[in-house]
Amino acid sequence: MTKEAILEKIKISFVKVLEHSKFELKEETTAHDVDGWESVTHMMIITDIENSFNIKFKLMDLMNMNNVGNLIECIQKELSN
């Protein structure tokens, strides 16, 4: 899957969990840039993404996830496994 396709698909999870679409997701986007993206909703977003891509992240990867770019890399890594 291309980065663009992944980005489009993860946006659906963000909108679903955060219940708004007042944000732009770019590789350098962090939790600080998106309203309502904090520790509790982060986990809900992660779970939703895991379900929609049918993957399971490693704790080690989640721990080092600092922005949307890292998130996309992790998804690509899991998809190739």
């Binding site: 219940e19 600080h32 904090e38 520790s39 509790v40 909703t41 982060h42 986990m43 779970t47 399971k56 490693k58 704790l59 080690m60 989640l62 721990m63």
Partner: protein, 501 residues
């Protein structure tokens, strides 16, 4: 024991050892101690002796911890506020305690318009040549006042005296079950406005151990895992929700360095502890219980491996009282109950607060004197927690008596949230309820009767009125709120309805 003397001794004898690790930077006991001295000079030169209640913006840095100790050494109390909570609410807290002086280590304090701001940065000049006076503390003086959510929309203050705190630290210190030493590396995940922080950092500082803090803007459970791995932590004190979040990843966690794991601040489920112990195979596990009113921890339970643990509805026992704590369990008529009869847990002892801050009405309702079987009359506090004592003498936790719940370890009165929602949503019937989310944690749901509408104005309002953890994370619209035969809102039915949606 006098904990302030012991603290000073620990600062001296562990001078070269690390006291704190904040954002991967270590600070020694000597650095902490120097910082305490400088802040004491500011206190002695800037604050009149009669000013006892001093505000503290609880930042995650050396200066903030040093300020707590400096204030104590000067026989003053700290009133902590969370820098990420709304300014209005924080200002209200300082006004309730009539605090004039506020310590804030941030360069530009948000509170400078209403209060006199003190910090090492802004007061360097004044304090340089000051020689320190030694001051002895008074047992009955206040050590800190914490504010929790109150159903009238106003936060309620719980003052804890030096005597209260000394009783807690003595009881913990004399307990051989839990004994820290100067080579321990301890987790400090709690916000300083949450009293559980005291049982995280105080035993560590008294033992000369190092505390590892968790930044407030981090995702706590990931950050804790990171700290645990990177620094081979030996002592973990956490809210149970941390392991509820980490549960899907237990197979990736193996931390043999952990020797103590203490939970406190919410219901601890036995099944998850059984799984968690495989991640920390060398650890003893304790379940702490206690309301803020009785100085952090009143009872605790020691987990035993295997199937002989005490639990009720899957919730692990809260065990037996700390030395110096007395308790009774009473029914609605105030009669003392026998073993295995559930009623309201009431606590007494040296750890118990003198009463809520300027709130006589609440003090008359929740504090009372009663004569025990041995003829002795004692002062008790009604915790609002329904418990019973099993035949082995362990206390079993059943539920909260009122609708006060714990969200991410913080105590929340749903009534306070409703109060602020109703300021904006004036026409519709509505309620705020705690629900279990799919991962086993508590969440706050707002349920409004009628057709859906745009709630953005409402949530904008809540953002400025309430701390983040009190803002509902779910909103539901129902045609009708369910009521029982007595016309009371049927919370059980309501929970079913909204989880079905």
């Amino acid at each position: 024991m006098n904990f302030l003397n012991k603290l000073q001794e620990s600062f001296i004898s562990n001078a070269s050892k690390n006291a704190l690790c904040i954002n991967d930077i270590y600070y020694t006991y000597e650095a902490l101690s120097d910082c305490v001295l400088n802040i004491r000079k500011i206190i002695q030169t800037q604050i009149p002796p009669e000013e006892k209640l001093i505000g503290l913006v609880a930042n995650d840095d050396l200066e903030t911890y040093a300020t707590i100790f400096a204030l104590w050494f000067e026989s003053k109390a700290y009133i902590p506020i969370n820098p990420t909570a709304p300014k209005d609410r924080n200002t209200e807290i300082f006004k309730l305690t009539k605090s004039v002086y506020v310590f804030d280590s941030k360069k530009k304090s948000l509170y400078s318009t209403d209060f006199t701001i003190l910090s090492l940065l802004s007061n360097e000049e004044v304090s340089k040549n000051h020689t320190l006076k030694t001051i002895s503390y008074t047992k009955s003086n206040t050590a800190y006042i914490l504010f929790t959510s109150g159903s009238t929309g106003k936060p309620k203050g719980i003052p804890i005296s030096f005597e209260n705190l000394n009783a807690l630290l003595s009881a913990l210190g004399n307990d051989n079950e839990y004994s820290l030493n100067s080579s321990d590396r301890c987790l400090q995940m709690y916000d300083l406005t949450f009293d559980a922080s005291l049982t995280a950092f105080m035993p560590a500082f008294l033992a000369g151990a190092c505390s590892y803090t968790v930044p407030s803007d981090s995702i706590k459970y990931f950050y804790i895992f990171k700290l645990m791995q990177k620094y081979d932590l030996t002592v973990l004190k956490m809210v149970p929700s941390i392991i509820y979040y980490l549960r899907p990843y237990f197979s990736e966690i193996n931390q043999p360095s952990v020797r103590y794991c203490v939970f406190g601040g919410g219901k601890l489920f036995e099944d998850i502890v059984k799984e968690w112990i495989t991640c920390v195979p060398n650890s003893k596990i304790y379940n702490h219980y206690g309301p803020t009113e009785c100085t952090v921890c009143s009872t605790y339970y020691t987990y035993v491996s295997g199937d002989s643990n005490k639990s009720h509805n899957g919730v692990l026992s809260i065990g037996k009282p700390l030395a110096g704590i007395d308790y009774i369990i009473i029914n609605n008529e105030g009669n003392i109950l026998e073993n295995n009869e559930a009623g309201e847990l009431c606590l007494s002892g040296e750890q118990l607060t003198k009463g809520y801050w300027k709130n006589e009405k609440l003090n008359n309702t929740l504090f009372f004197n009663t004569q025990l079987e041995n003829g002795e009359t004692k002062h008790f506090y009604k915790t609002g927690d329904i418990c019973f004592r099993e035949d082995g003498g362990n206390l079993m936790y059943v539920e909260r008596k009122d609708f006060q719940v714990k969200i991410r370890g913080f105590r929340v009165e749903l009534g306070e949230i409703e109060f602020h929602v109703k300021n904006i949503v004036t026409k519709e019937n509505l309620t705020v309820i705690d629900v279990n989310s799919s991962d086993g944690n508590n969440e706050i749901a707002l349920v409004i009767e009628g057709n859906a509408f745009d709630t953005s104005t409402l949530f904008d309002h809540l953002q400025v009125k309430l701390p983040n953890y009190m803002i509902p994370t779910q909103t539901h619209f129902l045609n009708q709120l369910p009521h029982n035969i007595n016309g009371k809102l049927d919370r059980k039915k309501l929970r079913e309805l909204i989880t079905k949606k």
